[in-house]
Amino acid sequence: MSLLSVQNLTLSIHSFDILHDVSFNIDAGEIVAITGESGSGKSMTALAAMQLLPQGARTTGRIMLGEDDITTWDEPALCGLRGNDIGMVFQEPMTALNPVKTIGDQVAETILVHERTTKAQAHKRAAETLERVGLPNDRFPLSRFPHELSGGQRQRVVIAMAIALRPRLLIADEPTTALDVTTQAQILALLVRLAREDGMGLMMITHDLAVVAAMADRIIVMRKGEVVEQGATVQLLHDMQHPYTKMLFAASAHEVTLPDTNATAPLLEVKGVCRDYRTPRKTVFGKPGKFRAVNNLSFSLNRGERLGLVGESGCGKSTLTRALLGLEAVSEGTITLRGEPVFTGTKPNLAVRRHMQVVFQDPYGSFNPRHRVARQITEPFYLLDTPPTGAARQQAIDDALIAVGLTPADADKYIHEFSGGQRQRIAIARALIIRPDLIIFDEAVSALDVSVRAQILDLLAELCASHNLSYLFISHDLSVVRTITDRVLVMKSGEIVEQGKTEEIFTNPQHPYTKSLIDAAPVLPDLKGLTA
């Protein structure tokens, strides 16, 4: 008998169909990955297994935990189940913990809710659990607050809360999506270890096929609320049946063909750039400290070149982006575009800024929801001395939208009428409209589904040829950087530790940090090498 058996589960929320006839099993000690793109219903499946569905949710079908159908249980019984028989780990460790309670209290709470025990006893067990997830007590005492920990450490606390009572089933919903690659590798290893040690079933929700392939015993592929394919990992990857599974796999491994470029003339030059931030004073009348976010950074980007910049969170990528865009002054050094400084006096040098545009990560947050597309994408015209008007303006809008694969009719729509991928196209149109030399992509494809990401990468490869563009591609996603760039910089703690031709760096990294990054990044298995 399976540990968890979901049978013909159908779910609707206020007449919206979310899940349709979903069936699968998870055995004790088995790691099962549920994968699919956004809107596939994978998170709702997880919440259904916890019976933590939003208001207005209606389900049919059965969710059997052992011999019990938990869909028939009442709320008090379910409260006894959650945290005790089923633990859950969430995506965003930065917000999953209560900011005003200590980690000790939060882990002990799981124990105190379910068992009659003393507070002291619960804290003792919390300390043991934290130790087990790799937070030793001498360095991470129970009295720590969440804000005193890094993202990876917080995720360990969340895991400790979920496994404190050694549940039979652990559900992890995108547990590493918000984390850096090296941290991701550690957290995944921890989850696998805990599942194996405790003989715990692990339901792993993730959009990342590479993560899935490396750790899962079985894979369930979902699309639009339905299970399209499931099976043992090796078998399924070897013998993909459903076109959607094949498409997902192809899109994850997607490589673009970059047009050849002969990039020798420098376009953007960064020389000895440092950027310090003030840190709070240690004493009331003391001097404020300083934190050097970018330290003596020098590189150049040649005209027509696609340059990648990789590094983990906190390495200074965002600081550098702001400095390059002339949004902030640098403490030392110079940044020039076409030989002119990007920042003059107290503000960006507009004469230079008009040759440089940026596309940000979040296709939802980077638009004003109250403006139509035409107004959004023509905003860079403010950088021009004589912006086009009338027919010329309209032509520019049409051209930009067509160039990114949209239609001129989209100009009159509002941003909420578009999907995430379309929004990112609009962001690219906004960057293209004043015909810049350089576009900076700051994690521009990180929030997109793999199929959409593949399309956007193709678009970028086309555009750099047709529009004679140079790219600076900033990302934590090594596979994306590998395919879209000619040359790559590896950044750590505000410094460039290694740079060179992309393919050379990836095949033969020299610096230990680059090596650790590449080793930690999950990779898709080579399908030809797989034997069922």
Binding site: L52, R82, F90, T95, P99, V100, F145, H147
Partner: protein
């Protein structure tokens, strides 16, 4: 340790705020164009009376000298002598304070006692009848002016039911109960509109928190919705609520002037009102400074409360 450093920093900021406020008040009242003495006595004053008042006010000394003697006086409890009443301002303020401070505290307590349960109840029944009912009532509470409430309370409880006196204050020498009894109607009249605002803030702050990821985490641990609300929701919702409580207390202390008029209470609000009418600048100046001190002190307390609630603020100090 963090908390101590935070407290010291807030205390420093309190002292600086007070110093700045005292300079501003002094400048506006004494240094601004026009002669305080002739302003106080009116246009038809005799030159001799004017000269006498100028000496009494110390206007013949230099401005910095006057400022420092004013501040030094206040620090030692000497607020000067009222020109109209011919009594020390300190005594007058003290008497009034014994009415206004308990009234403000009484009203604030009532308002909190009404607002917290109402806000929590509304938040936990979001969109349902209970929520709609509470929100409708608070809408009324915000809209209706407190003096109208006051008059209705008098009509019902004093004139019809005869449970409370229609006005006046019996004094604390009649005992705690008698004192509180005579402050009850004014306190309710003051508290209701404040409670309505506070309940709305409480509700929206809680609803924000209920949508947070850590509330879902709490449910996933096995807490009931109610346990999650009480253990994880409330404390996180307190920051906006404390801000409003601080503002309300400052308002209640001096802003009860209309209610003091309706109930004929000898409070600070009326003292200021009377002193302004009588052009008694000495009283106005001192009472203003006192109220500024009260507001800054309340803010200081609220800042400490923030840090007690949220450990991140302690760390940022």
């Amino acid at each position: 340790m963090l908390m101590l450093r935070y407290t010291l920093k807030r205390l420093l900021s309190l002292v600086i705020s007070l110093a700045v406020a005292s300079v501003v008040i002094f400048t506006v009242i004494e240094v601004a164009p026009g002669d305080p003495a002739s302003f106080m006595l009116g246009m038809n004053a005799q030159p001799e009376t004017l000269a006498a008042l100028r000496t009494e006010l110390g206007l013949d000394t230099s401005k910095p000298e006057r400022y420092f003697s004013w501040v030094a006086g206040m620090l030692s409890g000497d607020f000067g002598t009222s020109y109209t009443y011919r009594t020390p301002v300190a005594d007058m303020v003290q008497q009034r304070m014994w009415v206004s401070l308990p009234l403000a505290l009484y009203a604030l307590t009532l308002s909190t006692l009404i607002a917290f349960p109402a806000g929590i109840y509304a938040a936990s029944r979001r969109g349902r009848a209970g929520d709609v009912g509470v929100m409708g009532a608070t809408q009324l509470g915000v809209a209706i002016p407190n003096f109208w409430f006051a008059m209705m309370l008098v009509l019902l409880f004093s004139i019809k039911l005869r449970w409370f006196a229609a006005g006046g204050f019996v004094g604390w020498d009649k005992g705690l109960f008698a004192g509180l009894h005579s402050l009850t109607l004014p306190a309710i009249a003051l508290a209701l509109p404040q409670a309505a605002i506070l309940a709305r803030v409480m509700r929206s702050a809680l609803l924000d928190v209920l949508g947070e990821d850590f509330m879902r985490t709490a449910r996933a641990k096995g807490l009931t919705a109610r346990q999650a609300l009480w253990r994880h929701g409330l404390r996180n919702a307190m920051i906006p609520v404390l801000t409003i409580i601080g503002l309300q207390f400052s308002f209640l202390l001096a802003g009860g002037i209309i209610i003091e008029q309706v109930f004929y209470l000898p409070g600070l609000g009326r003292l200021i009102f009377q002193s302004i009418s009588a052009r008694d600048l000495i009283v106005v100046e001192s009472v203003t400074m006192l109220l500024v001190f009260a507001v800054i002190f309340v803010n200081f307390t609220v800042d400490l409360a923030y840090a007690a609630v949220d450990p991140r603020l302690r760390a940022r100090a």
